[in-house]
Each structure stands twice: as C-alpha cells, then as structure tokens.
Amino acid sequence: MNVTVNINGAERSADVEPRLLLTDFIRGTLGLTGTHMGCDTTSCGVCTVLLDGVPVKSCTMFAVQANGRSITTVEGLKQNGQLSAMQRAFHQEHGLQCGFCTPAMMLVGTALLEENPDPTDDEIRWAISGNLCRCTGYMNIVKSIQAAAAIKSEEVSA
C-alpha cells in the first residue's frame, strides 16, 4: 500500500505492507532514527511521535493508519536550524542521562506546552506519566519542561 505522510514538514511516500509498524516506517523506511523502539508493548513510550500534534505511541500503530497525516519526530523540533526551547531546556537542565527516552520526553513536553503554556509540576508529571525513564532522571526532566515553559514565555514577551 502506498503511504504518504508529511513528516517534519516534508512530504514522504513509500509502498509498505499494512502490518509495518509506524516506528519501523519512520526509522527503517524514512531513515529517521531519532524515534526509538523500547518495550514494543505500548508500555514505555520511547517510540512517541506527534501525529497531527498529538502524542501517540508509534509502536502501537500501523504506518498505513498515518496515511495523509502529519508527523513530528525529534528531528523536526529544531526551528530555523536552531534548537527549540524544549531542546535548549533539556540541555541546560541536564534533562537526560542515557538519552534513550529523551526524544519522546521532549515531544510530550512540546505538546503539553502547546496546550498549557504554564503547567504546574503536577501537570508536567501527569503529562509524562506514559513515558518511562530507566535512568530515573525524572526530577531533571520535569525541571527541563518547566525551564522550556519559562524560555518560551520570555521569548513571547521579548
């Protein structure tokens, strides 16, 4: 089946089997390996991508389901060649250790701030509760998302 998606602003098409998982379409077919495959059982959330702006677990979706839709992966976060506020905040606040969960955490954080530009600590923890960090670096992940909210609000008021 032919699948066409808009991924990180670029139109990409490929002929795929219906059973090809969206994660493998993104990583294998399109060569964007920033999206990771972890548990493969809908539990860990490291395969999260934004589908039309909404976080979904790409290991629990077939590529054919994404036909005609927009996908954002970690590769699409940068803006005008610069790291996004979320990426800079993770850098600044040491929001990662091994880095395996980081793409998903930054995407979930980005989607959260779109909906709620000034989230509380609890709201951030709630939002990332579908994503596991095996380094258990949650404190700094929460701090990073808070810092990103602050950077974004400064940018808006500047």
């Binding site: 959330g45 629990t60 389901q65």
Partner: protein
C-alpha cells in the same frame, strides 16, 4: 514483534464500512484506537485476516448531551472524555474514570466504544456503564439495534455485537442535579491494568433518600461485575456511613479475585470493600451538592 499478514481497508463512509462488515463478518476486525487490538495482534493473540479502519469515517467523534443521555461516538478518544465539559456536567462516574484509563498517550488514541466492544474484564469503561446505566448503539446493513449495557456485556471478551455490526455510540444515562458518581482505581503504575476498580453512582430523591444506586467492579471477577445485591440494599434507604459499609461488605463478598502479581485475593477483596464505601461516600457528596 509483528502481526501476521492482513488486508487493510479504510472506508470513508459508514455505508461502505457496514457493507464490508456484512460481506466479511468474522473475517474482519474493526480498528478504532487500536490500543488493545494492535498489541494483541503483535503478540499474535489475535490474527484477523483483515482490518477495517474506521478512523476515516465522518461524524463519529461526537460527545453530545441529548434526551437525558450523554452520547459518546465511536471515535471519541479517552482523552476527549477527560477534557469534555459536557461530560463533567452530565455524568460524574464517567468524568471520574476517564483520567484513570491507561496512560496519557494511550488515551490520545484509545476509544470508549472500542474498549466496550473489546470487553476486557480489566477494562474500566464497562464497569462505569454498568454502574450508571447505558445503551450501546449497534449498526449494520440490517439496521440499528440499541442494547442495554447489561445485555450487551455477555462475558469476558464477549458481547452481543454481531460480526456484521459496528458499535457506533454509547448513550450513558445522565446524572440529575441530585445525582453523583465516582470511580476508584488502584493500579501498580500508570498504564497498568487495575488491581481493583470500583464504579459507583447514586441518585437521591427529594427527601435525600437513595432513589437508585449503581456499583460495578473491575479486575476482580471473570468479567466486569455489577453488584446488584448491594444496589438493591441501598435503594430507598437514607444514606449513612453504616449503610455504605454494608454495601462495601456485599461487594467484597460478591467478587472473586485471583491471587496474582498485583496482590492476593484477600487483599483485593478488602480493597473492593474500602473502595465501594469511599466511592459511595464521594458520590453522595456530589449528589448533595457539596462538591462537584
């Protein structure tokens, strides 16, 4: 992990979808949110020869208040329910349960109607519907059937939905101004199945007595269990802590949990009693207008 091969159909009209179901019946499985079906296919616990993706069908993502019912369409995601003001106004049990369904990312895709049609005994929604009262709307080329949830739910993973039918909506009974409801859930971690879940619903009469009560349990029986005996006990009575304790004892005795990695049967039975009491107490607070 990969499913076995299947054909994929994604019709863009309901008539077309129902035509496919009429033709293929048991040889095709409906794909809505896919958050239970896709994992089952990857584990090859389910091997449907074909999938009917209903996500491109129009007009099935409505949450609507009509004729005493809260109508939830087949493509309403759990997270749509979490965010809906109409839900908060219409049914307190539904509103309380929605944030507890799976995890925030799964809630973006998984659907209420899909969960009911799948009817996993550890699913939260069937308990909610059994406690508050609901009708399931089924469509096929033969027409429409509207079944009470108590008929629709047959046994674990079994409903009265025929292979040629599609669940197009669920109509949940609304709470009145003197109604209240709650969902209490114990889970080991976000996204895990319930260790114990208890849905409660109360309607009071003009004298503050219980006009009707609903209690249903998740994960502690072979299927979602409506505790009719406790509902009958509560009906017509003046609410009191002792009465709720008695209802909790009946619920604890009615369930039949298993010893497993989530806890011993005795522990779960105890939690059922405590949660039933707590859920009824919270439902009463809402019904009396103290908090909502």
């Amino acid at each position: 992990m990969y499913p076995s091969k299947f054909d994929y159909l994604a019709p863009t009209s309901l008539d077309e979808a129902l035509g496919v179901l009429a033709e293929k019946g048991p040889a095709i499985k409906v794909l809505a949110g896919g958050q239970s079906l896709v994992p089952m296919m990857k584990l090859r616990l389910a091997n449907p020869p074909a999938l009917l993706d209903i996500n491109r069908l129009p007009d099935l993502d409505f949450i609507e208040d009509s004729n005493g019912h809260l109508r939830i369409g087949a493509l309403v995601r759990h997270n749509d329910v979490v965010k809906s003001d109409a839900v908060k106004r219409a049914n307190h049990t539904v509103a309380a349960a929605a944030p507890w369904v799976s995890d925030p990312i799964v809630r973006n895709l998984g659907t209420v109607c899909g969960s009911l049609a799948h009817h996993d005994p550890e699913g939260d929604w069937a308990s909610v519907m059994l406690a508050t009262g609901a009708d399931v709307v089924l469509k096929s080329t033969q027409g429409e059937r509207v079944l009470p949830i108590t008929d629709f739910c047959v046994d674990m993973f079994q409903t009265l939905c025929r292979p040629d039918e599609l669940v197009t909506e669920v109509r949940v009974k609304k709470h009145s101004a003197r109604g209240g409801g709650d969902y209490q859930k114990l889970e080991r971690k976000v996204g895990d199945y319930a260790t114990v879940g208890v849905a409660t619903s109360l309607e009071l009469d003009e004298h503050g007595r219980i006009a009707s009560a609903g209690i249903a349990l998740t994960s502690v029986y072979a299927h979602n269990l409506k505790v009719t005996e406790a509902e009958i006990l509560l009906k017509g009575k003046q609410p009191s802590p002792e009465l709720f304790q008695e209802a909790g004892a009946i619920a604890g005795a009615a369930c039949d949990p298993a010893d497993d990695h989530r806890g011993s049967a005795a522990y779960k039975r105890h939690v059922v009693g405590v949660f039933t009491e707590r859920g009824l107490t919270r439902s009463l607070e809402i019904a009396q207008g103290g908090q909502s």
